[in-house]
């Protein structure tokens, strides 16, 4: 009988899809928890770094490191952190939309924008825009390491030092909570650190070897830690977005299976009825 077999195959295929999305949902859930933990672990370093830089700029107000000085903006650098894999709902699409708005804002002022891309999705997307890409790294996995980011960040820091860019932004997905992730744009350079309020009297550190060198090392690490934090937060957002997307997919598959089952039952009943009618008709004829 036509129809029922096809419907049965389709039900089986939707069921296996549902199994996969369900599994992906559960994997994303557990990975999200771990990524959240790493986000928490990254916080003290960045906070303490900020405190030290704040102290330093207060203790030594005459010295201005190039990373802290604002200058005329002739060229802008943007670091974009995206995910490596898809199936994460609208996470990357929203992020890219925000990034493009940021580009437009600067390009309207006749300021060219250079990119630094972290993550395969961003690389595939922004390549088509034909904007200069200074550095690229992807395949960081679910546990990004600072070591994997050093080179990429250094390219941008060097460009800033050499005056090729005058402002550096970081674009990544902010993990608000499990249901909400939103694109976030932070200014990395020049570094704006508020001096810590608790130390009002004038005092100074002993510097070894020199204030400039130390500040250089500190600011470089500060920027790196910010990018690292962004990368970790992006992983947490990716997992949360995937979890939600896969939950929706699982639910939809369930609904589809229900509908298909109904169609299947009706077709089956119709087939039985016709068969019966044929038998009865046949018997009557004899």
């Amino acid at each position: 009988m036509a129809g029922t077999k096809e419907i049965r195959t389709k039900i089986a295929s939707v069921k296996s899809t549902q199994k996969i999305t369900k599994a992906m949902q559960m994997v994303a859930t557990s990975k999200m928890r771990r990524a959240q933990d790493r986000m928490k672990l990254a916080r003290p370093y960045a906070d303490k770094m900020r405190t030290v830089i704040g102290n330093l700029s207060q203790a030594n107000p005459d010295y201005r490191h190039p990373f802290m000085a604002t200058r005329d903006v002739k060229h802008v650098g943007v670091i974009i952190i995206s995910t490596d894999r898809g199936l994460a709902g609208g996470l990357n699409a929203n992020l890219f939309k925000q990034a493009i708005n940021l580009f437009k804002e600067w390009q309207d002022k006749n300021v060219p924008v250079s990119l630094c891309l972290i993550g395969a999705k961003g690389a595939a997307f922004f390549r088509r825009l034909g904007m200069p890409i200074l550095a690229n790294v992807s395949g960081l996995g679910d546990r990004p390491h600072v070591a994997d980011l050093i080179g990429t960040v250094k390219v941008m820091l060097d460009a800033y030092r050499e005056g090729k860019i005058d402002k550096l932004f970081l674009v990544h997905a902010e993990f608000v909570n499990t249901m909400t992730q939103k694109p976030r744009i932070d200014q990395l350079l020049p570094v704006a650190v508020a001096p810590s309020s608790e130390l009002q009297e004038h005092w100074d550190y002993i510097y070894e070897p020199s204030a400039g060198e130390i500040l250089d090392g500190l600011l470089m690490r500060y920027v790196e830690s910010q990018v690292y934090r962004g990368a970790v937060e992006n992983v947490a957002s990716e997992m949360a977005a995937r979890m939600v997307a896969m939950k929706a997919a699982t639910d939809n598959a369930g609904k589809l299976i229900g509908d298909l089952q109904l169609v299947y039952n009706k077709a089956r009943q119709a087939a039985i009825t016709t068969e019966l009618a044929e038998i009865v008709g046949g018997a009557a004829a004899v």
């Binding site: 891309l117 390491h145 080179g151 990429t152 070894e208 060198e213 500190l218 790196e224």
Partner: protein, 139 residues
């Protein structure tokens, strides 16, 4: 009880150590430094080596790949690097990142992408067909 100084060792990937100490030894760039409580404020960079935290009888030892040290009279903060770094190593990593960017612009991954897009297209077309069928059955 002897005077103590609070020691925090943090790295970008997590907190490494936190606790009181009578004396801390760190591998500063200019040579090993010993820090006792009430040390004058000091800021220095560290090289890769061992940080030893002496607290009474016990001594904790933590390896750091470099980093920065801040000393305030009552606390010591070590911002440790998780990665071993050296100028040429950083330079090599930067070059690698640049190379990848150039590769990306040159479009070396085009073929893979094309294949992926094609596979996606076939899948979607098949799905559309099934949907069409479903609609017919329902109607």
């Amino acid at each position: 009880m002897a005077k103590t100084i609070h020691v925090d060792i943090v790295s970008a990937e997590g907190e490494v150590y936190s606790g009181p100490a009578e004396m801390v030894f760190v591998p500063a760039q200019e040579g090993e430094l010993g820090i006792a409580p009430r040390h004058a404020p000091l800021l220095t960079l560290l090289k890769a080596g061992e940080v030893r935290v002496k607290d009474g009888e016990t001594e904790h030892s933590v390896f750091v790949g470099g980093g920065a040290l801040e000393v305030q009279p009552n606390h010591v903060m070590i911002l440790a690097d998780t990665a071993i770094r050296a100028k040429d190593l950083d330079e090599a990593a930067a070059l690698e990142a640049k190379r990848r960017a150039e590769e990306l612009l040159a479009g070396k991954i085009d073929k893979i992408e094309q294949a992926e897009a094609l596979a996606e297209l076939v899948r979607i077309a098949a799905q559309l067909k099934i949907l069409e069928k479903l609609r017919k059955i329902r109607a």
